[in-house]
């Protein structure tokens, strides 16, 4: 930021005129979202989407893919030269999967940033308040109850996972309120730890009693971006949209909350209400994402932190950029998951963990160096 020379102190009627002359850089928040970063985010999303659609176990030539994509636009007629089978692979397998990846990645990253802001804790992730453990129990119960997953329109697995996730959050909230009247963040986090431990124990117990389904359960736990046409996308789209909108519109308030509950209240923010709204929105969105994709870890931490390192501390930048880069990141990791051992698929949670662990080391080194 440029430092301006002190201009004559002016009070009274002339004050307005002096402020008008001030150089633009001195008169705008440093934390605002810069156009350059926004553009970079959009470019990342588009590039990742194209890569995700064009690459896969089956070789589809890129120009033909691009033509096929453009052909879908109204009033555009571009024969792509792809066979019916390749087109089916493209539109019914790859595109929905990429779109799902964008939605899930965007949601997890944004929810993670929201949690970090509302708890003022850089290690907060979307699974903090018992969401992961709750979803795990729900999914495990659905899998071991043997309800067949063949009938997709009433697929119980995402519903059970979603319900479990919400149950986890409700349990955490209820526990923290009953223990500490003043809804402090510390008691919420601790309650989340207790609820997660309990639910995980229940889940492990159920698993051990139904050991033949252990592979299915673990496959779900490590996360998969499998799609059946556009069903999953349609299922979670409303939740992701609503949740993201709520989180994004609260970006200024998250910055204010950064000075602590007491000061923020003195500055005029209804802190408890804001915290509830953000936690509910982030939890709903995360529960939806988890319901269709399992537990994909690290996205909610890696992406917001990277964005902070690059674009600054303010949630005015971190939230929207986490949304964009989170989506791009998810599509790229899914690409790795699909290609690394083709045609087999690595569970996507494994890929994000492989990337996440060294990333933490880098972040730690950067912080201790600065």
């Amino acid at each position: 930021m440029s430092l301006t020379a002190p201009h004559p102190t002016a009070t009274g009627p002339g004050g307005g005129a002096v402020a008008h002359d001030a150089p633009p850089s001195a008169g705008r928040p440093a934390g605002r979202l810069r156009r350059g970063w926004l553009a970079a985010g959009v470019v990342a999303v588009v590039a990742a989407a194209v890569a995700g659609i064009a690459l896969g176990p089956v070789d589809l030539p890129l120009p033909a893919v691009v033509r096929a994509l453009l052909d879908r636009l109204p009033l555009v007629d571009l024969p792509s030269g792809l066979s019916d089978r390749d087109l089916a692979i493209l539109w019914q397998l790859r595109v929905p999967r990429v779109v799902l990846g964008l939605l899930v990645g965007a949601m997890l990253a944004t929810a993670g940033a929201g949690y970090q802001g509302v708890f003022r804790n850089p290690l907060a992730d979307p699974y903090l308040l018992g969401i992961a453990a709750g979803a795990g129990v729900g999914a495990t119960l659905a899998i071991v109850s043997g309800v067949p997953s063949g009938r997709w329109w009433i697929d119980p697995l995402p519903l059970a996972a979603f319900g479990g996730a919400l149950a986890g959050v409700v349990a955490t909230y209820a526990l923290s309120r009953s223990v500490s009247g003043e809804r402090s963040t510390v008691s919420l986090i601790l309650a989340g730890v207790a609820v997660a431990a309990f639910f995980t124990a229940v889940q492990t117990f159920v698993q051990m009693r139904n050991i033949e389904s252990i592979r299915s359960v673990y496959a779900w736990l490590f996360g998969r971006l499998a799609t059946t046409g556009w069903n999953e996308v349609v299922l979670i789209l409303p939740y992701v949209v609503v949740s993201s909108v709520v989180l994004l519109t609260h970006r200024r308030l998250l910055d204010v909350i950064g000075v602590g509950d007491r000061e923020a209240t003195a500055l005029g923010v209804p802190v408890t209400r804001v915290r509830v709204v953000i936690v509910v929105a982030a939890s709903l969105g995360t529960a939806a994402a988890v319901a269709v994709s399992g537990l994909i870890g690290f996205v909610g931490i890696i992406v917001p932190h990277t964005v902070r390192l690059l674009a600054g501390w303010s949630y005015r930048s971190v939230l929207p950029l986490s949304l964009l880069f989170g989506g791009a990141f998810m599509v790229l990791t899914d690409l790795i998951a699909r290609l690394a051992l083709a045609p087999a698929e690595l569970p996507i949670g494994v890929v994000t963990a492989f990337l996440g662990a060294p990333f933490f080391v880098l972040v730690l080194r950067h912080r201790s160096a600065s």
């Binding site: 930021m1 440029s2 430092l3 301006t4 020379a5 002190p6 201009h7 102190t9 002016a10 009070t11 009274g12 009627p13 004050g15 307005g16 005129a17 002096v18 402020a19 008008h20 001030a22 850089s25 001195a26 008169g27 705008r28 928040p29 440093a30 934390g31 519109t249 609260h250 200024r252 308030l253 910055d255 204010v256 950064g258 000075v259 602590g260 007491r262 000061e263 209240t265 003195a266 500055l267 005029g268 923010v269 209804p270 802190v271 600054g312 501390w313 303010s314």
Partner: protein
Amino acid sequence: MSGATADRTRHATHPVDGHADLAMTGVRVTYGDHTAVDDVTLRVPTGGWTALIGPNGAGKTSLLHAVSGAVRARGTVAVGGADLAGAHPRRRARHVALVPQRPVIPEAMTVFDYVLLGRTAHLTYLAVETAADLHVVTDVLDRLDLTAFTGRPVQALSGGEQQRVVLARALAQETPVLLLDEPTSGLDIGHRQHVLDLVDRLRRECELTVLAAMHDLTLAAQYADRLVLLDGGRVAADGDPADVLTRQRIADHFDAEVHVVTAPDGGLALIPARTTPADRG
């Protein structure tokens, strides 16, 4: 600039004309079993400066937090006759601004953005700052000679400069009442004077009503119109500095021996009296 903007700047720190007195009745603050503030009643007239004095743990900070709404309290707090009890935090923050003793400085936040936080009370829930808000901030920074630091991280500033920044944030809030919690702690003798002179100047220019917790009794006597002595959460004395600062009272409440003298400019000064013999010469 249009007349509207000029008007706005003129009233930049005083949106409430006339009645800006701070009156509190029966204020109680409890943390669990511990009562930090017990039935405090006091009034600061419009444009006045009242200093809260008292030993450590007397409840000064808790009282200020209660007035600003940072902690929940019983009793009534009214500004200009308007009762703030149960008010939405935003409404309260348009009447009362707090300069905390140990402010939390978010990492890497710049001076401009930190002062901009003061505009929170003037923005609706999800609104973003307008150009008018940015002008207020620039103006306040100018007023406090902080323009040179606009883009620097607050953490990089010295103690005295940070103190001015926090004060700037409170001023950007444009409230009629200003609460200060130990504004001189951690500052050297020169910066103490500068800060208090600044507050005094602003008080007169903008007709601010000031309630400040102060631990330096001499400075309190010099700058404040009235002193309120708190001990154990209760008001032990309330009046002119000369009436409140007696040798006996200091001994009773602070367990300290002092000489109360009149300074050359007419104000009071407290000189500590050594209880152990000085070995000089």
